[in-house]
């Protein structure tokens, strides 16, 4: 199961909980009306807990996510890796077509004309890495392919009417 599908499941659970809360509140209107001050008194207490919990959750999420940021740290950039230039242009990628397994690769991604995206799909069709390809700039994307097979690079930034055709397949593993 891909990371994105797990995220979909997480989203569905959270959305169901949220909708459930709304439905409970909606059904409460069938019960005898309660004085607004009484509702406010209890509601403010719950709100205080809600605010504190959500704040703590988001701060924890932020702290937890930082080590997983994909930006190349200086120390990592100095480690041995295969440097591979990728030039994007309307509507093609200029790049090698064979890559080794289990070896660090740093894609040096730029564009010759407009903004493009460089999204890498594994043999199962899961989006495993991506970076933007921007004219005048070079983005460095570090990837290690653990699984041999045929991968596909797709453009993930709209670049003109040929956008959907802009893809390139490459092989990871022995030639």
């Amino acid at each position: 199961m891909s990371v994105a599908v797990k995220l979909l499941i997480l989203f569905l659970i959270l959305a169901a909980v949220a909708i459930g809360i709304f439905l409970v509140v909606a059904v409460s209107t069938r019960r005898p009306p309660q004085d607004q001050h009484e509702v406010a008194r209890r509601g403010y207490t719950i709100r205080g807990w809600w605010f504190t919990s959500l704040l703590a959750f988001f701060v924890a999420m932020f702290a937890t996510s930082i080590p997983f940021f994909p930006y190349l740290a200086g120390a990592t950039a100095l480690q041995p890796a295969l440097k591979v230039p990728v030039i994007a242009m309307q509507y093609a990628f200029i790049m090698p077509t064979h890559f080794p397994v289990n070896k660090a690769i740093i894609f040096e991604v730029t564009s010759r004309d407009v903004n493009h995206g460089f999204g890498i799909y594994n043999p199962q069709g899961h989006l495993v890495a991506q970076v933007q390809a921007m004219p005048d700039y070079t983005n460095y994307l570090r990837v290690i392919f653990h699984q041999p097979g045929i991968y596909t690079a797709r453009c993930l930034e709209y670049c003109g009417p040929g956008h959907a055709l802009m893809e390139k397949t490459f092989v990871v593993g022995a030639k």
Binding site: L7, T29, G117, V131
Partner: protein, 500 residues
């Protein structure tokens, strides 16, 4: 039950301004939903369009939906604030004319000129397409007109609020929050809840509009003289600062309708509190830095902005859920509210706001964004927010408005029919986007890789059912509209307290 509400006020000028803005905005939204259906049907291979036509229509659809919903927010908030502060209609009329002229220009540039650089028109794409050179100019000038209208509206709103409440500090409720005793002793007047969105939108909208104009002028200069170069990273930052903020402010404008509409529907009161004021201060600041999440995959962006983008995107959920949404739930809780279509739409809009927000927060996490950025997950969450949130608030408000003045009532069968068609269809329509996004289907593909086409078919069916629901709702709204009370028709003064 006696209810005194701004919703019941009859300010002929305010009503007319709201009618023009919301009428035009909703008409445009209706047409653009049909265009959107055509695009999804094309992706489903049911009505294949050429790539040139597909992207020209996608440009039209994206730009016009945002502008149209923004117009609804502008009209609604203007109407409400006109009850509180001095607002001259001439500025609103000029802003309206500029926006409509801009919208007409976008239609010409896309339908006749086949301009297809999308509503984000990321530089330098507008100058690298196969569309005619003139259409790029028409599109850029049109967007500049829309932005000028927006800036004018924001300046009037911001100026009006600051003038009415005696400056920024009192308009923010600063002393009301921090020096309550002296504030009360001095007989201070705290702004009503809807004044906070007005201040926030006026301030943030002005900054966003100014950056949009700066970008527009730079692009127009390049259009005239291509030797003038523009940094793509600079342009991308300005594009998203303008576009994200402009789109995000729609729901903040419509929050004012919730602050007035829900108290009316529940028969309860909603006052300014310290928590509400602080919540809006936070939203005012966080909305300005959220846009960084659009550039997570631009690794050359300064690193601090990426961290700030994630933190700010997370924190922006706090004032929304802990203040506006939570207060709305407290208003409804055991209120005995009658579930008229106005109440149903407005309440469902709150749900759409939350559900779309969950999708957005997941995507705003940098490690997750790697797997979701520019897949169909992105239109999934913003369609939830725009159709399931903003549009429902506008429709709910308009229903509450006519329900308060009409002799007629909507029967239970009609409410169920509208609800099932609209929300059932909407759920299926949105599920197609989320599912495809989770399977990595890229957004903005005229021809999608699998499983995109299959999911586009499901989404198209959902969209048809949803549109049918809105269509039935339109007829019901007209039926209520033509059933205004005799007293209202004769005097044009609404029946305060007619609602029970």
């Amino acid at each position: 039950m006696m209810v005194d509400s701004e919703l019941l006020k009859t300010d002929a000028v305010g009503c007319r301004v709201m009618r023009w803005y919301m009428g035009t905005g909703l008409s445009l939204v209706g047409f653009m939903m049909l265009v959107g259906l055509l695009l999804r049907a094309s992706q489903a291979h049911w009505m294949p369009l050429s790539a040139d036509t597909f992207y020209a229509l996608l440009t039209l659809h994206g730009a016009m939906v945002i502008v149209a919903l923004n117009m609804c927010g502008m009209g609604g908030l203007w109407f409400l604030m006109r009850q509180q502060i001095s607002l001259r209609p001439s500025v609103a009329v000029v802003a309206y004319v500029l926006t409509v002229m801009g919208a007409a220009g976008v239609v010409i540039a896309t339908l006749i000129g086949q301009f297809a650089a999308l509503y984000t028109f990321l530089a330098p794409l507008p100058f690298h397409g196969n569309w005619p050179h003139w259409s790029t100019g028409v599109f850029l000038i049109s967007m500049a007109l829309i932005t000028m209208g927006w800036i004018g509206w924001c300046m009037q709103m911001l100026g009006g609020v600051l003038r009415a409440y005696g400056g920024l500090r009192p308009a923010m409720g600063w002393d009301f929050v921090w020096h309550r005793q002296s504030f009360d002793a001095a007989g201070g007047r705290v702004p009503p809840p809807q004044a906070f969105p007005a201040l926030m939108v006026g301030f943030d909208g002005l900054l966003a509009g100014t950056s949009g104009m700066l970008l527009g002028i730079a692009l127009l200069v390049h259009w005239v003289d291509p030797r003038v170069l523009i940094s793509p990273l600079w342009a991308k930052n300005l594009t998203y600062f303008f576009a994200h903020t402009y789109a995000n402010l729609i729901i903040y404008m419509l929050a004012a309708l919730i602050y007035v509409g829900l108290p009316y529907a529940t028969g309860r009161k909603y006052h300014t509190s310290a928590v509400l004021a602080i919540g809006w201060w936070c939203s005012m600041a966080l909305t300005l830095t959220n846009y960084f999440h659009h550039l997570y995959m631009d690794f050359v962006q300064p690193g601090a902005f990426q961290y700030l983008g994630e933190l700010s995107s997370y924190l922006s959920a706090l004032p929304v859920t802990a203040v506006t949404i939570f207060s709305a739930l407290m208003l409804v809780w055991r209120s005995g509210m009658k579930w008229t279509l106005g109440a149903v739409f407005m309440y469902a809009g709150l749900m759409g706001w939350v559900v779309g927000g969950i999708g957005a927060e997941i995507d705003a996490s940098v490690p997750f964004n790697v797997h979701l950025h520019n897949t169909l997950w992105v239109p999934a969450h913003f369609h939830t927010y725009l159709v399931g949130g903003c549009l429902l608030f506008v429709v709910g408000w308009l229903f509450l408005y006519v329900e308060a003045r009409s002799d007629r009532r909507t029967g239970a069968a009609m409410r169920w029919l509208v609800g099932l068609l609209t929300f059932g269809g909407m759920s299926v329509f949105l599920a197609g986007f989320y599912w495809a996004g989770a399977y990595g289907v890229p957004r903005r593909y005229a021809v999608e890789p699998p499983p995109g086409p299959h999911l586009a078919k499901i989404a198209s069916i959902g969209a048809v059912v949803m549109l049918l629901g809105f269509f039935v709702a339109l007829f019901e709204w007209l039926r209520l509209r033509f059933g205004y009370t005799a007293r209202y028709r004769a005097t044009m003064i609404p029946e305060v307290g007619a609602h029970d």
